[in-house]
């Protein structure tokens, strides 16, 4: 007996998804020869792989991820950063400065103070140690302007879309620069508040309706309508 649901059907934890020669993907697990869902979400059958696109998750860091975080603490050799995850991230001075850091001479808060928002990349994370960040790459570092919106990290793939289709459309239609952190924080900077507001409304709508079909077309219509109102 193979597949038990249609693609994109809503499933809950404990729902039996497939039986037999299958592999468990994200948010699914195998018990004996059966595949079950472990989170509420939409089921996807991709060949032998069965996975669930979750409707709500939290952010688990992974190396290479672009994240937006907030400086929470200053330590002797670096900063503790809140990246909207169960694990606090560490940004060491060697990953922030281009020159050697001397604690007796340098003052950490001159570079990044508590409350500052940063755009950073995760360089390492495993079960035993907290994630390490870096800002020693082009375009990373302190965020100086724009607005930040928070969404569930589960919706980030939908906001980006297939090969960036959704986010590229949003950037074009709203004239805003949008940077998506994998941890559910999104930086929006436009030339005017109205443009930023339109982008935020669109992102909130994507978050709410992420699991429905035909979303891109509805977002385009919504942004066009909002822009029509602004220009009048």
């Amino acid at each position: 007996m193979p597949i038990l649901y249609e693609n994109r059907h809503l499933v809950a934890p404990g729902d039996l998804l497939a039986e037999g020669d299958f592999l468990a993907g994200f948010n699914a697990y195998r018990y004996e020869s059966k595949i079950y869902a472990s989170r509420l979400g939409l089921v996807e059958y991709r060949g032998r792989k069965v996975e669930v696109v979750a409707l709500n998750t939290f952010y688990i860091p992974s190396s290479g991820d672009l994240v937006i975080g907030k400086i929470e603490e200053l330590n002797l050799h670096g900063w503790t950063v809140n990246i909207n995850s169960p694990y606090p991230a560490i940004l060491r001075t060697s990953e922030a400065l281009n020159r050697p850091f001397k604690p007796q001479r340098d003052e950490l808060s001159e570079f990044l103070a508590i409350g500052d928002m940063i755009l950073a990349k995760v360089i390492s994370f495993d079960r035993t140690r907290d994630p390490n960040l870096t800002i020693r790459e082009p375009d990373l570092g302190k965020i100086k302007q724009g607005q930040i919106v928070k969404v569930s990290p589960a919706k980030i793939p939908r906001i980006i879309g297939k090969k960036g289709s959704m986010i590229n459309m949003l950037k074009k239609e709203t004239n805003c620069n949008i940077i998506v952190g994998q941890n559910g924080l999104i930086l929006i900077s436009g030339r005017s508040r109205d443009e930023e507001r339109t982008a935020i409304l669109a992102i909130k709508k994507i978050e709410e309706e992420a699991h429905t079909p035909g979303l891109t077309d509805r977002i385009i219509a919504m942004v066009k309508k909002e822009r029509g109102e602004i220009s009048q």
Binding site: L10, A12, P13, G14, D15, L16, N27, Y29, Y31, Y36, S38, R39, L40, A54, L55, N56, T57, F58, I60, P86, Y87, P88, R127, T128, S152, A154, E208, E209, H211, T212, G214, R218
Partner: protein
């Protein structure tokens, strides 16, 4: 001694008009608190219970953190106004016991080993009590955990059975619990046919216990269906409203 109360009449109808193997009416709602990561609310007969989940998050105090898995903490608490006589808000011996057994009921279903060094905090607040609050608490907490996006092997449904007026009945209310002969609360994972909480208060013969257990499991299966409906309801509603808008 005062005359014994009639808890079940000749036609087999109980004090609140139910048949012996009938559940109380259940209303479930998911995601009703905005400050918690996950939340749910249940009304089961006159029981009214809220559950909230935080986490996984950093453990405070730090020394409680476990290196190999997440720490699950549970607080079952009854509001001072939840019973007829004011209940002291301080945790009683009974509440501490229930917090422990509820926590242990959830430990096998949550993938705790996926999130080492974090804590998952579960709060069960009984606003109004009418018997069977530990079971209703487990039922609602399970939804709050799923709402928080915490990966689980299965939802847990819980329900009690017991012996009242010489008969085995399902889902005891407060009077039946106090005046009846026995009470058997059961928490159950239907996809695995596994029991994760089983207690007994009172006296039953071996045969009666078997009967009560299978009746309670039957009740859990009914509750499980309601739980899944409640969990999916919010998203199904958005999907339907979008589809309606599309057609217009």
């Amino acid at each position: 001694m005062t005359e014994k109360m009639v808890l079940i009449n000749e036609e087999g109808i109980r004090t609140d008009g139910r048949k012996p193997s009938e559940l109380r009416p259940i209303k479930l709602e998911v995601g009703i608190l905005s400050n918690a990561d996950g939340s749910a609310y249940i009304e089961q007969g006159k029981n009214k219970i809220l559950a909230a989940v935080y986490g996984p998050r950093e453990v405070h105090p730090r020394h409680m953190a476990l290196p190999d898995k997440a720490l699950l903490r549970c607080r079952y608490h009854m509001a001072p106004f939840s019973v007829e006589e004011r209940k002291s808000p301080a945790p009683s011996r009974r509440e501490m016991e229930l917090s422990k057994v509820i926590r242990e009921a959830f430990e096998p279903t949550i993938f705790l080993e996926k999130f080492p060094r974090t804590s998952i905090d579960l709060f069960i607040e009984v606003l109004q009590a009418d018997g069977g609050t530990r079971c209703a608490g487990v039922t609602v907490a399970s939804l709050a955990l799923a709402d928080a996006g915490i990966p689980m092997k299965d939802l847990i449904a819980a329900c009690a059975a017991g012996k009242v007026g010489g008969k085995i009945v399902l889902d005891l209310n407060d009077i039946e619990d106090k005046e009846g002969e026995a009470d058997v609360p059961v928490a159950y994972m239907p996809s695995f046919d596994a029991v994760s909480l089983l207690q007994m208060d009172g006296l039953l013969t071996g045969e009666e216990f078997q009967q009560a257990l299978s009746l309670a499991i039957e009740g859990c299966r009914q509750i499980y269906i309601l739980q899944k409906e409640a969990l999916k309801a919010k998203y199904q509603a958005i999907k339907e409203s979008v589809e309606v808008a599309e057609q217009e």
